[in-house]
């Protein structure tokens, strides 16, 4: 056998093969990135420049920040951002509290009916949001909570799935730690906050980030429950901008707004990349 020949042809094959792979991956990368590039590019083109380009240019030599100024002055982008921030912070905070307590009860405490309730909780995971949103809409309307933060936040607080995720994590903390704490006279509440939560911090952070992403991007519920622009979140805001926006089709300004509302989550993602990806692969759903 001619080993030299085999070696050479194997190396060549390998090179061609990985070349094809990289080409293919790069194409998909372009497909993913292109809309981002386009929105940033368009957002720095001036209104007149954009509209005069019958054939859109792939770059611009005279970038302008005017569109960003317009986005904050002509429409209430700042307000949408603020609303979304308030909504996200309160909803996530409340949820963390509620699910931590519930998960702790399921993972650590013994009480009559525990298994039954837990089974019922699990069964609730199968209920799609679309089925309950109708009554929630009626409830919130009847309580006169339309166009309020309470109306936006309350139905978004609990997540059975996160309770389940957290419970599994809590249950991994060795029993002996709890017993040790008990012998030392630690109350359940103190044990939860001083021992359980610090140990399970990574999961809690992951759940928190996932919820933040969910809140930031939520559209359906806010759309149903708010028609006063003062309470719009960014998703509704962007829709509002699109439909009634800048008086005329000011696409560059629209794109500036899109960049502004996309930016916080992208920054968050780049900061917590591993946490988010790990969290999504464990507990995310989308698509």
């Amino acid at each position: 056998m001619d080993y030299e020949k085999i070696k050479k042809s194997a190396a060549l094959k390998q090179k061609i093969f990985s070349g094809v792979i990289y080409f293919f991956l790069a194409i998909w990368g372009l497909f993913v990135l292109f809309p981002f590039y386009w929105m940033i590019l368009t957002s720095v083109k001036s209104y007149s420049a954009y509209n005069s380009e019958y054939i859109p240019k792939f770059f611009t030599l005279s970038p302008t920040m005017q569109n960003y100024i317009d986005a904050f002055t002509t429409v209430h982008l700042g307000r949408y951002l603020w609303n979304t921030l308030v909504f996200t912070v309160i909803t996530t905070g409340l949820m963390m509290l509620v699910i931590t307590l519930a998960a702790f009860a399921f993972a650590r405490l013994e009480f009559p009916g525990k298994n039954l309730v837990f089974t019922l909780f699990l069964a609730l995971m199968m209920i799609p949001n679309e089925l309950v949103i109708i009554t929630n809409f009626a409830t919130i309307t009847n309580l006169n909570l339309r166009n309020t933060f309470a109306g936006l936040i309350l139905p978004s607080v609990t997540s059975v799935f996160y309770i389940y995720l957290l419970k599994e994590n809590f249950a991994q903390v060795p029993d002996a730690l709890y017993y040790a704490a008990k012998v030392d006279g630690t109350s359940d509440m103190k044990y939860l906050f001083k021992v359980m939560i610090p140990i399970c911090k990574p999961t809690l952070v992951t759940v928190g980030i996932l919820k933040v992403i969910e809140c930031w991007n939520s559209y359906v519920w806010p759309r149903l429950i708010t028609d006063d622009e003062a309470y719009y979140l960014v998703s509704n805001g962007i829709q509002e901008i699109r439909e009634n926006g800048f008086g005329r089709e000011n696409i560059p300004a629209m794109m500036a707004a899109v960049v502004v509302i996309s930016l916080p989550l992208i920054v968050l993602f780049l900061l917590f990349r591993d946490k988010i990806m790990e969290g999504v692969s464990r507990g995310g759903t989308k698509g």
Partner: protein, 411 residues
């Protein structure tokens, strides 16, 4: 602080719900653990020793019976008010806290008049840390410590509240062999220095024997025997205790007592005065064999293992209950490995008889004369000629001089 169990019982619902019924983890315990002693609760896994420990510290409530600390009934007192410290098998150190924070943790829970200032807590923590010799490691996290060090931290945390009773759950099982030896000395030392009543649970009889002032042997929730380690070893009350204690384990044979003589197979190996004719389990401790060309007990020689100080003779016997018989004899003895058989005479004190039915100990009185030597055997196979063709009628028993006057007559 002595610990008293009165009729202590714990039942659990059967884990397999379909099977129903209850599992009795601890069955009517009645005994005392004396003040200031180091006591080992010993038994195979699943014998209820951990349940007993958890009931002492209050993590589990007894189904019936009472527990007293000294004169106080603590049965219904929650754990934190009992004044117990516990070290768990895997140490249960809080992974996110430093050594100092771990040790201080129990003190932070004190309320009312017991409340301590931060300085007092740290001082106290340093004091116990010095006792267990980890004062250099106070700012490390548990995962930066070796197993032995983690254990010391756990002990320090258990001791920091000055408990009346210190409980250790399998304290050595997570350590490697070398550390185990070192740590058991350490536990002994700490216990001596603090004088705190210490109860520890283990399935390792060697560990229990080596450091305990007293051992409590349990089986399936039932107390078998309690006493000083050597005493329990020398004088087990039943087959289980005899088999459970000792490494290498006791050699078991099927035997019969006929006319106050103990027969293993066809050979009369020992006279056992005071025992009526019956079928027995015969247990012979490895150190109970004496190499003796004229000995009454013949085994098939397998091999000899030299271990320096002494040698092990591995042999087989058709009536042995295990594949091989291990006897440990002094290295001075010369075993002729060319022979197919090896003959022993037996030390009566090391031969234990148990009723074949009840597995309870059958006691016999040991007779002997002072000044007898091991090698000087004059034993006989009843009615049967030995190799030399001698027919001997009497069995003389040879035993240690210091043991001669001890007679066990509890049967």
């Amino acid at each position: 602080m002595k610990v008293v169990f009165e009729n202590l019982t714990k039942k659990f619902p059967n884990r397999n719900k379909k099977a129903g019924g209850e599992v009795v983890a601890v069955d009517h315990f009645n005994f005392q653990i004396p003040d200031g002693k180091l006591v080992g609760l010993l038994g195979p896994s699943g014998c209820g020793k951990s349940t007993a420990l958890f009931m002492i510290c209050g993590l589990q409530k007894p189904t019936e019976g009472r527990i007293y600390f000294g004169e106080d009934d603590v049965t219904d007192i929650p754990p934190e008010h009992r004044g117990v410290g516990i070290v768990f098998q895997n140490y249960a150190l809080y992974p996110h806290l430093t050594v100092r924070q771990n040790i201080v943790f129990p003190l932070e829970n004190l309320k009312g008049s017991e409340k301590m200032s931060r300085e007092a807590m740290n001082e106290k923590a340093l004091e116990v840390a010095k006792l267990v010799q980890i004062d250099q490691l106070m700012d490390r996290k548990p995962n930066e410590l070796s197993g032995g060090q983690q254990q010391r931290v756990a002990i320090a945390r258990a001791l920091v509240k000055m408990p009346k009773v210190l409980l250790l759950d399998e304290p050595l099982s997570n350590l490697d062999a070398r550390l185990r030896l070192q740590t058991r000395e350490e536990i002994k030392r700490i216990q001596r220095e603090t004088r705190v009543t210490t109860i520890f649970v283990t399935h390792d009889q060697e560990e229990a024997m080596s450091i305990s002032d007293e051992i409590v042997v349990m089986k399936e929730g039932v107390l078998q025997q309690i006493g000083a380690p050597q005493q329990v070893y020398d004088d087990p009350i039943n087959l289980f205790v005899a088999k459970f204690l000792g490494t290498p384990p006791i050699n078991m044979f099927d035997g019969n007592v006929v006319g106050e003589k103990l027969f293993i197979g066809e050979e009369a190996v020992l006279i056992c005065p005071g025992v009526k004719d019956m079928a027995v389990h015969v247990g012979i401790r490895p150190e109970g064999f004496i190499l003796d060309e004229n000995g009454p007990f013949t085994c098939e020689l397998s091999r000899v293992e030299v271990m320096g100080r002494d040698i092990s003779v591995i042999s087989t016997h058709k009536d042995a209950q295990s594949v091989s018989i291990r006897s440990i004899i002094d290295a001075m003895n010369d075993v002729d490995t060319t022979k197919a058989q090896v003959r022993f005479s037996l030390k009566p004190k090391k031969v234990l008889l148990f009723d074949r039915e009840t597995e309870e100990r059958v006691y016999f009185s040991i007779q002997g004369k002072s000044g007898d030597n091991y090698g000087l055997t004059d034993s006989v196979n009843s009615g049967k000629e030995d190799d030399q063709g001698n027919n001997r009628e009497e069995v003389h028993l040879i035993h240690r001089q210091e043991a001669e006057n001890q007679t066990e007559g509890r049967a």
